[in-house]
Symmetry: C2
Subunit: 417 residues, 2 copies
């Protein structure tokens, strides 16, 4: 089964918007074992959209076309598909009502233009998912009863609308057409503390065995401050069976990787640490120099952080370390300074536990120490403990790696897992 992706929008060609939708759809198709050989961007031009769709239909069994389903005159995907199908557009009364209701429920007046969104090519039908006002369309080409017939799926360009439709309708429908009656489920483990190549070495034989077995696939992706992600994808006759396979492989990976795994449900490190503190009834604070507020910013980006997180002292200037956090006057990129910062954060901010970071972010060295030198510390039960680390990369990467590393240190010290 082959499915091409066509993204519609002049703004995509002009580089005003980056086409992330096609990549997302490509990943979903790959997960379902559907090949996507070509993906095309085309502007808001009827003739060119039509020729792109025709070429795609010649090469593939199906096409997902993304964008151009809005209510304005620029939104011509519906019309073009009707042309390619060789049929008329007709207004669908059920859709019309659905759109009217949507506006009413939001207490807004519906611009008349929006009714264009209720127009369907004859023979096409709307997708069940409709998070916005733009319906997604399933458009069979030729005889709709031909099980080997080709099909165009039209979805809006708004990512969350598109995603609901691709997951809810497009992928299941493609799998049905392919005669595949299995379910696909995936699960992301996140790890920290081992490089990509180190992990590849640890998992090499397992990975090969897994691929050969066909019961599951495993891919990994280094994702900066988000950790190193391991993605398991399982196919099975039912979703429950696929979930069982994922649970078994997850347990196996946890056994092999142990404490390197910090979440098995794609949660970020900061979410894991907040949850861990919440479970233990602990409040959390940070003292930051080289990260300059990045740790606090990541923690507070999570809704509900306030029941755990007390605050942070960003002690960028040395005097702030001395005066506010009580760091002994002396070198500030040192074990002593890191420990005093962590202990000071607990004391000053009234927190049970804390993390602290001091180091050299660059562009130049500091206190005779090279860029990437970082002391990380934690404080638990009033007692600080520090660890040095040498981080690779530029300022941005040093700050990101320091953030996830020091949070990981606290997670380990609290004896998670």
């Amino acid at each position: 089964m082959r499915c091409e992706v066509v993204a519609v929008g002049t703004e995509l060609l002009l580089g005003q918007i980056i086409d992330t939708n096609s990549s997302w759809i490509g990943a979903k198709l790959a997960e379902a074992g559907i090949d996507s050989m070509f993906q095309t961007k085309v502007g808001d031009n009827a003739e060119r959209i039509a020729s792109t769709l025709r070429t795609a239909l010649e090469r593939a069994d199906a096409v997902v076309v993304c964008g151009g389903l809005g209510p304005t005159q620029d939104d011509i995907t519906r019309d073009v598909i009707a042309g390619v199908m060789g049929v008329e557009l007709v207004r669908d009364p059920t859709l019309e009502e659905r759109i009217r209701d949507l506006f009413e429920s939001r207490g807004r007046t519906m611009p008349l233009n929006n009714l264009r969104q209720a127009d369907l090519p004859v023979g096409a039908y709307p997708m069940a998912q409709m998070p916005g006002t733009a319906p997604g369309l399933v458009c069979p080409i030729g005889d709709p009863d031909d099980p080997h017939g080709k099909v165009i799926y039209a979805v809006p360009g708004v990512p969350y609308e598109m995603q609901a439709m691709v997951e809810g309708t497009v992928v299941p429908d493609l799998m049905r057409r392919a005669g595949e009656s299995f379910a696909i489920r995936s699960r992301t483990l996140r790890t920290w503390g081992q490089s990509e190549s180190g992990l590849a070495e640890m998992l090499g034989p397992y990975h090969d065995e897994l691929e050969a077995s066909g019961r599951c696939t495993l891919a990994w992706l280094a994702s900066g401050m988000e950790g190193l992600k391991l993605r398991l994808t399982a196919k099975a006759p039912t979703a429950a069976e696929a979930d069982e396979v994922l649970a078994a492989e997850t347990a196996f990976l946890e056994g092999v990787l142990g404490d390197l795994v910090f979440s098995t449900d794609d949660r970020s490190m900061e979410a894991v640490v907040l949850d861990l503190c919440r479970e233990r009834g602990l409040t959390l604070a940070t003292a930051e120099s080289v990260t300059g507020g990045l740790i606090a910013s990541r923690l507070t980006n999570i809704g509900g952080a306030s029941d755990v997180f007390r605050g942070s002292v960003v002690s960028y200037a040395s005097e702030v370390k001395f005066d506010v956090l009580g760091v002994p006057v002396g070198p500030v990129i040192s074990e002593e300074a890191a420990v005093a910062m962590a202990e000071g954060a607990c004391r000053v901010l009234g927190a049970d536990v804390s993390v602290a970071v001091t180091g050299v972010g660059g562009p130049t060295e500091q206190e005779g120490q090279p860029v990437g030198t970082v002391w990380m510390a934690t404080c638990v039960d009033g007692e600080g403990a520090a660890l040095p680390v040498r981080l690779p990369g530029d300022r941005e990467r040093v700050r990101q790696f320091a953030t996830i590393s020091v949070l990981n240190l606290l997670r380990q010290r609290l004896g998670a897992r």
Copy 2:
């Protein structure tokens, strides 16, 4: 003049990497007045790359193909282009030497595979720019002396290598072929304090007049925490003349928009505020509640912030506001709290000036006030002053808008411009 973009790489189709290169190239082509009607992603497959190039050459005058120029067996773009040109690949001794020298200068042994990168289709020539080991190729199709002949440009997928080649060779060569002998220069002004539609209204007549005059184009783009960007692009016989046009239009826009413009050289708000403080010999601190360290994190992401920025108190818990910053016990989403936070930041962190933010980031209301309610304050000469604002969007957007808005408030209070 029409130029298509072809991005090569199976990982692009699988969604493992997002194709940002095509968007970047599309923007550069648009800037030069070159139309890009189609952009295609294709996997590492010789037959499919060849058919994509042939189709693109039928529809357009030129093709930029991006990726597949590395040293491995997967990198087949060179071979495919030779096939499309109907010529052989031959090793170029000058290129071979250049690649050998590059490895030598880095003190590394050259894998023999890398010499594949010295292979050129007969009739093609390498681009002058070569920041990595992959040469970019200019590949005339048919008679190379035909001024109306078509051409394939091959550039590597590594963004900074690709960008140097597109700017240095591809765009100038396309303009030469189009018989255009002008230079193109652009300049980005950033604004804050007016919505996209408000700005469109203010600039509408000017925009139309400018477009009609042909001396310059103007595009705007809302960019969250980066501000609202106005991009001027001028074409003129020489770079100096284009720069003159840009300077004149920039001055005009500054006159119309006044204090809304915070930078005319694409600098971020935090860079502008740091520079302003540096000029005035002022040190800076922040006190953050709803932004939770985001302001400090943005400031310290800039190298050299340490000579201005003292630090921040992230007072997420109310007690930290009371105990550390000296905020009077009472409602914390209030004018009084914001002013006390700003004054407290200067006092506690030993800074000359400060910004402070307290508000409701969501997901739920707080102190009976709705999500998006924010009090922003500044402190200059020991004196705090606050302003309320109601920000749109979710938690992430409220935090971002609060960050740029409060920094803008300090910029205005310091009487910038």
